[in-house]
Every structure is written in structure tokens, then in C-alpha cells.
């Protein structure tokens, strides 16, 4: 049984500058990994590689045993970045249908309606995304990320800009995913929110892994503990 995620010796260069240096860790299915680190430490770069948006300069990334950029691998990945990736000129339902079709889903319409109900947008299914409030757009984005029931969900700073209702929706869906044994990786500064869910922690500092392992018990009460103990400044 391959690991849910297996990263081995990954380097990523921008020109001569190594944004990631010899990053290696693996994640077993059902874990929730909090990817911590300061701005510019390489968290987003790593998530982009996992999502298949970028290729590592060296090293390998295996997701459920297959290479990151392969088509069937991408079918099992969901992403939710800082921005919502929603088309303003399309309705809520059309937005989901576009992605459902790209993921090759067979019951696109039914599944899209289900998801819209789930995030509380069932009544506005035919409203244009442009006319939605910020919070509604965020919930639509969450529906988009969960639509194809990904095996691995990648979240980049999920809690930073969401409103309360969207956070509640996201947390309940993450909880559900976790219970069904799916894997979640989220990068975040908001250690407190992340710690409610995280089972594992990976701390990245200047492109290198400074700490990896199960969530240290100290972190539950003291959010600065990790940075003080493993950070070098």
C-alpha cells in the first residue's frame, strides 16, 4: 500500500535561487498535515508542485504511488488557494458543472446540486457568481474544491480571508473528509485553527524542512512553541 503522499529530495529553483531544498517527507492516508512556515519559506511553491501546477527541478513527488503531474493523479486532487477560481460570468451551477466535466464525472448535474445545497447555495443555483456576496463566492469555491470527492485536498491559507459562515462550512467538510480517511494538507499562519484539525506538522524554513512529525503536544496550548524551538531566528 503506497503512502498517500511521498515527497523525496525535491528541489525547486527559480533561476539559481533554490526555493525548495531537499524537501522529503511522506504522509499516510487519513492524515491532516499543517504546513507551517513564514511568508516566502516555500509553502506555496511546494503546494503548487503537489497540485501539478509546477514541476520540481529535482526529486520526485508520488501521490498514492503515481507521479504528481499525471492525469489520473490530478483526478484525485482538490485545491483551494487564496483566490477562489470561480468564473464571474457563470452561474453557481454552471461553475461547478465546468469543473465536474473537466474531472470526467458521470453525474455532474446531480452532484453539483448536492454540493450547492451542502454549502447553502441551493436557492441561488442559477444566480451569476458576479452577483454573489464575498462570503457566497467563498462557499462556492469550497464547493468547487470538494466537488469531485478528492483523495488529497490541498489548501493554501484556507482561513485567512473566509467569513464566519464559510469557515464553518469548510471546517465541517474537512472534518468529514478526515473521518472518511482522506488526506488533507494545508499551509497556514493561523496555527490555532490549524491545530484543531492537524494530526501532523511540517515546518518549512527557507526552503528546507526544519521539523516534521506528529503534532507535538506542546503546540496545543502554545502556538509559538514550534517557531521558538525549531526556528533559527
Amino acid at each position: 500500500m503506497p503512502q498517500a503522499l511521498d515527497i523525496e529530495g525535491v528541489y525547486k529553483y527559480f533561476g539559481d535561487f533554490p526555493a525548495l531544498r531537499d524537501v522529503s517527507f511522506s504522509v499516510s492516508a487519513g492524515s491532516v498535515v499543517a504546513l507551517l512556515g513564514r511568508n516566502g519559506a516555500g509553502k506555496t511553491t511546494l503546494l503548487r508542485i503537489l497540485a501539478g501546477l509546477s514541476k520540481p527541478s529535482q526529486g520526485s513527488v508520488k501521490i498514492n504511488g503515481s507521479v504528481a503531474r499525471e492525469e489520473k493523479t490530478r483526478r484525485g486532487i482538490g485545491i483551494l488557494g487564496h483566490s477562489i477560481s470561480i468564473y464571474d460570468e457563470l452561474s453557481a451551477h454552471e461553475n461547478l458543472a465546468v469543473f465536474g466535466n473537466l474531472y470526467g464525472m458521470s453525474d455532474v448535474n446531480k452532484r453539483a446540486d448536492q454540493m450547492l445545497e451542502r454549502v447553502g447555495l441551493g436557492r441561488v443555483r442559477d444566480g451569476l457568481a458576479r452577483e454573489f456576496s464575498r462570503g457566497m463566492r467563498q462557499r462556492l469555491a469550497i464547493a468547487r474544491a470538494f466537488l469531485h470527492e478528492p483523495e488529497l485536498l490541498l489548501l493554501d491559507e484556507p482561513f485567512t480571508s473566509l467569513d464566519d459562515r464559510a469557515i464553518a462550512v469548510l471546517q465541517s467538510m474537512l472534518q468529514e473528509m478526515r473521518e472518511s480517511g482522506k488526506t488533507i494538507i494545508m499551509s497556514t499562519h493561523q496555527i490555532r485553527e490549524a491545530m484543531e484539525l492537524a494530526t501532523d506538522v511540517v515546518f518549512i524554513q527557507r526552503g528546507q524542512v526544519a521539523f516534521k512529525g506528529p503534532r507535538p503536544p506542546e503546540m496545543a496550548s502554545d502556538s509559538g512553541w514550534l517557531y521558538r524551538t525549531y526556528g533559527d531566528q
Binding site: 501546477l53 492525469e71 483566490s83 477562489i84 468564473y87 473537466l102 474531472y103
Partner: protein, 224 residues
């Protein structure tokens, strides 16, 4: 599956375009403006008009077309939709072909409408020649679309995008535009197509080669 992905992307772009009509309106208006301006550059009633009619038509098509093509990938920048598309299981080439097909449809509509305006303004008799003229339009516009969509993808993340695209686009289009101009002029002056088959072949070769290159190269462009 591949076809479904292509069609999904094309339908999405066309649907957004039909809702906003931004590119359509702008490019149609621009092509009419160009046709009007040419009437000051040349004597529009002279007998010689037919000798540069093809050039005139294709100048207006290519200028107006750049407005449509420029928006193609830029449309995805809003809310970072491009990331969601590229990370989806759809291969980059499906994303490219879908967007190219949508652009193609929009361009053909703009061209058809401005062909009518052109025929009226410059008293061009299209009856009996329309079939081959349409064939030239269909072939040359595909070449224009492929190169334009490719450059739209190449420049999508550059901040000088609007300035870069025309500078890159037109030199590459010259062979296709030249063939289209020459063929259109000859057809409108009543020269049979058989005399200019070589230019038809050039157009076909241009379309095939650049479509192949774009499909092969697009993944390198979209995945960093």
C-alpha cells in the same frame, strides 16, 4: 473524455462571451472603424479598389482579431481560474484547443459581420465567389487563432501583456495574412482559384504545422 474536456472549455468561454459580449462588441466596432479609415487612405470608388480589397479586409480582420485573442487567457486571470484549470485532469492541450475553438467561433462571427460591411462600403460583389472566399477565411482565421491563442498563453503572466501580444503576433502572422490577402484579392477580381492553389496549400501547411507545435508546446508554457 478528451473531447468532452475541450468542449467544456470552449462552451464555458463562449457562454461568458455571449453574456458580456465584451470582446465581440469591441472587435466588431474596431473592424468597422478600420474599414472607414481606409476610405480616407485610398479612393474607395476607384477602379483599382479591387487590387487592394483583400489586403484591406485582412488588415481589418487581423487588427480586430487581436482584441479577441488578447482576452483569451487573460480571462482566466480573474480569481486565478487558470490554476484551477491547469491542476484539473484536463491536459494542457485540451485547455488550449478549447480556448482556441471559442476564439475561432468569435472571430468567425466578427469576420462574417464585417465582411458584410466591407461589401457594402466598397461595393464588392461577392455572389458566385463566396464559397472560395469563405474557404480562405476559414483556413486563414484558424492560423490566426492558433498563433494568437498560443501567444495569449505565453504572455498571460507578463505585466506588459497588452503591449507584448501585438508585437509578437503580427510578424508570425505575416505568411498566413499574405496568402489570405493575395487569395482574397485574386478571387474578388475574378481570377479562378486554380491559379493560386499554391497559396491555399501554404495556408493549410501553416494551420497544420502551428496547430501541431502549439499542442506539443503548450504544456511547457502552462506548467512551470
Amino acid at each position: 473524455m478528451y473531447l468532452r474536456q475541450i468542449w467544456t472549455i470552449a462552451a464555458k468561454d463562449l457562454r461568458s462571451e455571449i453574456r458580456t459580449k465584451e470582446a465581440l462588441n469591441a472587435s466588431l466596432a474596431f473592424s468597422v472603424v478600420i474599414l472607414v479609415m481606409f476610405s480616407f487612405a485610398f479612393d474607395p470608388t476607384s477602379e483599382q479598389m479591387t487590387t487592394f480589397s483583400g489586403g484591406l479586409l485582412w488588415m481589418s480582420y487581423s487588427f480586430a482579431g487581436a482584441l479577441v485573442l488578447n482576452r483569451s487567457f487573460a480571462r482566466e486571470l480573474q480569481n486565478d481560474c487558470l490554476d484551477a484549470l491547469v491542476s484539473s485532469p484536463a491536459p494542457s492541450s485540451a485547455v488550449f484547443l478549447g480556448k482556441a475553438l471559442a476564439n475561432y467561433a468569435i472571430l468567425l462571427v466578427v469576420e462574417l459581420l464585417s465582411l458584410g460591411v466591407f461589401a457594402i462600403f466598397y461595393d464588392v460583389r461577392l455572389s458566385g465567389k463566396l464559397g472560395y472566399v469563405a474557404l480562405v477565411i476559414v483556413l486563414a482565421t484558424w492560423g490566426m487563432t492558433v498563433i494568437g491563442t498560443m501567444f495569449s498563453a505565453l504572455t498571460v503572466n507578463l505585466h506588459m501583456r497588452e503591449l507584448m501580444l501585438p508585437v509578437l503576433l503580427y510578424p508570425f502572422l505575416i505568411p498566413a495574412l499574405m496568402a489570405a490577402m493575395l487569395l482574397t484579392t485574386e478571387l474578388l477580381s475574378g481570377v479562378p482559384i486554380a491559379k493560386n492553389m499554391i497559396w491555399m496549400q501554404l495556408l493549410i501547411a501553416f494551420d497544420v504545422l502551428y496547430t501541431a507545435l502549439a499542442v506539443v508546446c503548450i504544456d511547457v508554457v502552462l506548467v512551470g
